[in-house]
Amino acid sequence: MYLILLLLWFIFSGKITLEIALFGLVICSWLYWFMTKYMDYNVKKDIALIKKIPLFLLYGVTLVCEVIKSNLAVIRIVLSPGLECEPTFTTFQTDLKTEVARVTLANSITLTPGTYTCGLEGNTYTVHALDKKFTEGIDESVFVKQLRKLEESV
């Protein structure tokens, strides 16, 4: 997490000089101390996170692929002359355990056009879909599989 903070500092600065580097080191150290003291971060968790980086990257790639696929599907619906679509609501349950994974799943569903989450209570999602075909297999999508892998690899 310290490295992420430092990286963000350098990206926002736009160049690397001694002055910027020293300021960045001091400010990031203070911020990291604050986070470990008050915000439930610690070094152990960070090391566990580093081990998961490949899985996060894989998740990102999957997300981009799904977004492109569903974008093309929605563009086809919008440009079709009769707007052949059948908006539906569906509810489904998930077996993901942590809150972070659940929220990530809801966010991913919303990010792919054609489906978005309008309710998330406990482990029940309410999803609105532009067409019925978007809801096929939504409770066992690629996101769920990858998030489950992320959870198991702790």
Binding site: F10, N71, V74, V78, T117, G119
Partner: protein, 101 residues
């Protein structure tokens, strides 16, 4: 050559925005319109940013564009989620509004 590739990406992104705008007008009812608006948020923004990344001068520019996409993709679903939730909670006669038109 680099400019041409970048221009192709930016123009493609703009076209996606046009389709999104068209979709907002063509679809009826707020919940369907959100889907059309999500087009611009995801693919439109992504393509325009990739085009600008190709034009970027150094690694910091590119990193900043990646951050734009990252933060936007984290925050924009929350906005559409809130709109959807409010609509779902306040509008009880969903079927009537969708199929009555």
């Amino acid at each position: 050559m680099r400019e041409i590739i970048a221009a192709v990406f930016i123009i493609a992104g703009m076209l996606v925005f046009v389709v999104a705008l068209l979709g907002i007008y063509r679809l009826k009812y707020v919940m369907n319109r959100i889907h059309a608006a999500a087009l611009g948020d995801t693919m439109g923004l992504g393509l325009v940013t990739i085009g600008l990344m190709i034009l970027g001068k150094d690694v910091f520019h590119i990193a900043k564009y990646i951050l734009i996409i990252l933060f936007f993709w984290m925050s924009s679903p929350i906005a559409s989620h809130m709109i959807g939730k409010v609509e779902m909670l306040t509008n009880k006669d969903y079927d009537e509004r969708v199929h009555g038109k």
